[in-house]
Amino acid sequence: MTEPFEPNIAAFLCNWCAYAGADLAGVSRLQYPPNLRTVRVMCSGRVDPVFIIQALKEGADGVLVAG
């Protein structure tokens, strides 16, 4: 039997909102699947489309930009 698909998701989170939100999710002990790998940026506007392509090209199964 093959293992169930576990996506590896690269997440670009804005330091001031989404990253703070992810921290608050922790303080509130909200549980979610452990598939995110977070890259902190100072603004979601910092995310060059090239970064997204790079993540996908190098093996990420999905990309989340939150800000």
Binding site: Y19, D23, L24, G26, Q31, R37, T38, C43, G45, R46
Partner: protein, 925 residues
């Protein structure tokens, strides 16, 4: 409290917390084991908390406290569970009450409000019917952190409601069932907000209905929100519900009300939300006694319109709802205004208590190959209990460039910090990774540790393996460990490429430029000068005073002409204020601390150098072609009649028409001051000519706060208020040499014909033409051409770009007291810049490599802070140039540069790409 302004001694009682703030890491183990459950005040008693608790998840500082009244140990002498399980030994059951004596120059009273107690209103059965809740309780039901996790449930059976009614003015504008004759100012907006959010949460089929008397959406952008709510299907019914009856076992509610046409109706709802008003905090009476300050008849702290944050006692100031009902933006403005006033009194002592921290000299790591140290934190059991910390540490040792790795019990404790400094020196580390909690709270602490070890603070990287790993994956140790390894690998990849960044600071010119010489501008300049900072006022006309020159009295009845004469005199005499009349700003450059503005007058142009800019360009009443204005001499505008009382000598009837070219497509906002102005004018006419007929034709009367008392007084004096709607506006026609006004009265349900001697129109308040000022300083205007502040609630007097501030009518129409408070607030915020000789700037800024720049200007166009400009380079055309003092490090320029020739310090492309490469492949794979 003893003493006088400038030298008060205040005795403060500090209740014991029973938790050592330095040791508590807010892991929550104590609360987990605490046996005592009590109603959670923050959730309005809708859920339970423990006797050891944090009031709410966002609390700052995030530290626990013991509520002794509900703690088993304090009640029965045994338990001590918290003490047993606390991993950092932070519990102090022997903590004692402390008496602290403070020597201060001024005091600011901000004791806040309490919501009206709805159980006083028997006809709404609050407390008896479970599905009748207050708006504050409903707010918690809407919140993701609330008792139902943001899922709205009916309290009777936890089912999802499909029809909810909001009842406005519960405990406000009411002398019949309570003693609160004032309007609470905020309830209309929050009811609309709750209805809109409930609609988003519940979705299709949900019917929100708001029962109201007058819809008071008078703030900036509030009217648009009201219109949007109508378009989204929120139903607004103008009626006061007189009875709520529970009609079945399920707890459904029957609401009875009377329509405009006098018809009695009953509608069935799942829930009723009482939009409760505000009352001053219970502590106000005691505070007033302790501080010797006066209260007004409604027990709010008494202030005047011309000194809106000064109490009756010198040196004691106030801000927020303790002074009167208001919303968050106004409270924040008043807070800054109070700080400004307190600062004026303390100007001579400024900086006298400052101590500076000394660090060892920084070692130069350039040219050294990376030697990374990784410190993995257990955070007690917060990380160690849910991930395999030894395995993570061993894994870290295998990563490239890592020369040292160890685990810590608590990385943030003082002894670990000291050890970290030793290890850095001993192992000659030049990059540090700490895998622990979140950089948002702990990065500054560890950066200081690096500074203490002689390393540049930017050679540090944090890996968030608690908040974003073990705390959110506590059910799967293996996966949490895998993720933590990945996060550490990402941090190490990035750390390898980190580089030292030198500190950045700029000198500050201790001088303020104020654009506009109205009340806001003069107040701002005086507030700066009284704090010891010289100011220059640039005024377009040949006189000071602005729009206030037209007005006679404030809402509280204070004489504006006398006030104007006073303040103009003060400004003109002040040695530190320079007034440039008949002058205009014709250009500007520079950034926080170092602006240079061109001021042009008939006699030529001069450059003014200044550290901050306060924009107070004001506003004016809009012109109109409606209702025969300009065509008939008896149709007047705003203050014309008031300023020519002789016209009324033989008049019988005056009609005021509100919202002329306002709250419509031409000006889609409420001008906030017109209802109060017309009501005050009507009262003045009635006082002088009690037999004269005075009509006010209105859409909603928006006499918010204590201005409601004026509305009541006008009605008592016989002023007749007739409501009209936008689709059935009054018609004014000539009648001989007088006028005839036709209007439909919705209460009488018939059309009235009023013969009038005068018709006075209240048109919208428009801003001055601000387009050039906006362009010179690169600050935004909204759709209505008012200046747009950085954040409507939290930064109401600042622009997103540093060193630029806004106040008065240029921000939005507002009465004199609010203009003054906002001007003081702007000066108070500006003083935080001017008070420093140099300002430290975050060095995480953009860097332009001009070799590859083609001068396209996209970066300058896109920068929200004006931090990139195009500069002409001889023989090459234009090149981008960054202004570090204005840069916020967002990186918009870098990601949009087609040449990829802009990079961000500390967030370089290369550094981000290294993190991405490390993230893309999982350690487990």
């Amino acid at each position: 409290m003893e003493g006088n302004a400038g030298n008060f001694t205040v005795t403060v009682k500090k209740s014991p917390r029973y938790v050592d703030m330095d040791k508590c890491i807010a892991c929550g183990e104590c609360a987990k084991k605490c046996p005592s459950k009590v109603p959670d005040e923050y959730n309005q008693g809708l859920s339970k908390r423990k006797a050891i608790y944090v009031p709410y998840p966002q609390a700052v500082p995030l530290k626990y406290a013991i509520d002794a009244a509900n703690c088993n140990y304090f009640k029965k002498g045994k338990c001590r569970n918290c003490e047993k399980v606390c991993p950092t030994k932070a519990i102090r059951l022997d903590d004692k009450e402390e008496i602290i004596r403070l020597n201060v120059g001024s005091v600011i009273v901000t004791a806040g409000f309490k919501p009206f107690d709805s159980s006083k209103l028997l006809n709404y059965q609050y407390g008896k019917y479970p599905n009748v809740v207050t708006s504050v309780e409903f707010e918690r039901l809407l919140s993701a952190g609330g008792p139902s996790g943001g899922h709205i449930t009916r309290p009777s059976d936890h089912g999802e409601p499909t029809k909810i009614a909001w009842l406005q003015c519960v405990g406000s504008r009411d002398l019949n069932k309570c003693d609160n004759p004032y309007c609470s100012s905020v309830c209309c907006m929050y009811a609309i907000k709750e209805a809109m959010i409930a609609k988003e949460h519940i979705g299709k089929g949900f019917e929100p209905v708001i029962f109201f008397m007058d819809m008071r959406t008078f703030g900036k952008d509030f009217e648009k929100y009201y219109e949007r709510a109508k378009a989204c299907g929120v139903r607004f019914i103008r009626s006061k519900v007189h009875t709520i009856t529970e009609i079945d076992e399920a707890g459904k509610l029957g609401l009875k009300y009377v329509t405009d046409a006098g018809e009695i109706k009953e509608e069935i709802f799942d829930m009723a939300v009482l939009s409760v008003g505000m009352e001053p905090a219970d502590s106000v009476a005691e505070l007033a006694k302790t501080f010797g300050i006066e209260l007004n008849p409604y027990k709010f702290v008494k202030t005047s319109d011309i000194s809106p944050v000064a109490t009756s006692r010198p040196g004691i100031f106030t801000a927020g709802v303790i002074q009167g009902c208001k919303d968050i933006p106004q409270s924040v403005m008043e807070a800054s205004a109070a700080a400004c006033c307190a600062g004026s009194g303390l100007a001579s002592a400024r900086g006298s208590l400052i101590r500076t921290k000394e660090f060892p000299p920084e070692s130069d790591v350039c040219g050294e190959s990376p030697r990374i140290g990784v410190f993995v934190c257990n955070c007690g059991t917060n990380i160690g209990g849910f991930a395999d910390v030894p395995a993570i540490t061993e894994y870290a040792k295998t990563l490239p460039n890592v020369v040292y790795a160890q685990e810590n019990l608590f990385s943030c404790s003082q002894d670990t910090q000291d050890k970290l400094v030793e290890i850095i020196k001993e192992k000659n580390l030049n990059r540090i990774v700490v895998a622990a909690c979140t950089p948002r709270t702990h990065e500054p602490l560890f950066q200081e540790t690096l500074s203490n070890a002689g390393l540049n603070p930017y050679l540090f990287e944090m890996s968030n393996i608690r908040n974003q790993c073990t705390w959110v994956h506590s059910d799967n140790k293996e996966k949490a460990t895998d993720k933590a390894k990945d996060l550490v690998r990402m941090a190490v990849s990035r750390a390898t490429l980190l580089e030292p960044i030198p500190r950045l600071s700029v000198d500050v010119l201790k001088h303020g430029l104020v654009i506009g010489g109205g009340v806001a501008g003069m107040t701002a300049a005086l507030s700066l000068a009284n704090q010891g900072f010289p100011a220059t006022i640039v005024e377009q006309t040949d006189h000071l005073g602005g729009a206030a020159r037209e007005i006679i009295k404030t809402a509280k009845g204070e004489d504006i002409r006398k006030f104007l004469a006073d303040i103009v005199g003060q400004v003109e005499k002040h040695p530190d204020i320079k007034v440039l009349l008949n002058s205009e700003v014709s250009g500007a450059s520079g950034f926080v601390g170092n602006f240079e503005t061109q001021v042009t007058s008939e006699s030529g142009s001069q450059a003014v150098k200044h550290g901050v800019t306060i924009i107070a360009t004001g506003g004016h009443a809009a012109d109109t072609g409606e209702y025969l204005y300009g065509k008939h001499p008896r149709v007047t505008l705003w203050h014309t009649l008031e300023n020519a009382p002789e016209k009324l000598a033989d008049a019988d009837t005056v009609v005021f028409i509100q919202c002329v070219g306002s709250r419509d497509d031409s000006h889609p906002y409420c001008s906030k001051v017109c209802c109060t102005s017309s009501v005050m004018q009507a009262i003045a006419i009635k006082e002088k000519h009690p037999d004269m007929n005075v009509f006010i034709l209105y859409r909603d009367i928006r006499t918010y706060g204590e201005r409601e008392l004026l509305y009541k007084e006008a009605r008592e004096k016989g002023v007749i208020f007739i409501r009209y709607s936008l689709d059935n506006k009054p018609v004014v026609s000539p009648d001989g040499d007088k006028l005839s006004v036709k209007v439909f009265d919705p209460i009488l349900q018939r059309t009235l014909l009023i013969g009038a001697d005068y018709v006075n129109l209240a048109t919208a308040i428009e801003p001055a033409d601000n387009s050039r000022i906006a362009e010179y300083y690169k600050v935004p205007l909204n759709a209505e051409k008012f200046f747009m502040e950085a954040h409507a609630k939290l930064r109401p007097v600042e622009f997103a770009s540093d060193g630029l501030f806004i106040c008065g009518l240029a921000h939005y129409p507002k009465p004199l007291d609010e203009s003054i408070a906002q001007a003081m607030a702007a000066a108070g915020r500006a003083a935080t810049v001017l008070a420093k000789a140099t300002i430290d700037i975050s060095p995480m800024v953009s860097q332009v490599n001009t070799d590859h720049c083609i001068g396209c200007g996209l970066c300058a166009e896109i920068c929200p802070f004006g931090a990139i400009v195009l500069e002409e380079v001889a023989g090459k055309g234009y090149r981008a140039k960054n202004i570090p003092a204005s840069c916020k490090g967002c990186g918009l320029c870098a990601s949009s540069c087609p040449q990829k020739t802009i990079d961000m310090l500390h967030f370089r492309n290369q550094q981000i790409e290294a993190t991405i490469s490390a993230a893309a492949i999982s350690a487990a794979a």
